[in-house]
Symmetry: C2
Subunit: 105 residues, 2 copies
């Protein structure tokens, strides 16, 4: 499907605490994710860029040495190889996230 | 820079009628674009995926045979090779757009 209306997109459980809807193309993965309260990714890295935008709620995110509390309208760009992670607070956060389907050789 | 606040991001003229701020990584190009009223891309295609989200304003977009008037919170995913184009109306439209930096071989 080419178009999503994010206010009423149907999300399915991706893993405990995270619901998502994903579009997978040749190159890109676009995911709308609703991350429940109190979820945390303490940090990881990968060999491809990732970016996105917070749509609703708030989350703390770090990219390398930078750390920010993100709310609606805050975008992020995670360069390939940079360690990054996030933490949601007492409310869910909804994001639109885009990453490469697979690392390029 | 890892984080952008899209409400007050500084945009520069990209070409007449379009202002933008762009982040270019190894793989992805993330662009915040403000497209002026009455702008049109009648259609083109490329060998990589492109996706994004309308942040403010409205625009008409087509992807292959699908056509939609998009407003804030409407996302799009343009599969590699699909013809697509857009038209802004009497107000500017602001989008966050992500595409591959260069086609993969």
């Amino acid at each position: 499907m080419g178009f999503w209306t994010l206010d009423n997109v149907q999300l399915a459980e991706f893993r405990p605490g995270i619901k998502s809807k994903v579009e997978i193309g040749n190159d890109l993965i676009m995911a709308c994710m609703e991350i429940g309260p109190g979820q945390e990714d303490a940090g990881h890295e990968h060999d491809f860029d990732q970016c996105g935008l917070v749509l609703d709620g708030q989350m703390e995110m770090f990219i390398g040495q930078e750390q920010k509390k993100l709310g609606p309208g805050d975008a992020y760009f995670i360069p390939a190889g940079q360690r990054h992670g996030y933490k949601t607070l007492d409310q869910p956060a909804k994001v639109l996230d885009v990453s490469l389907k697979a690392p390029r050789s």
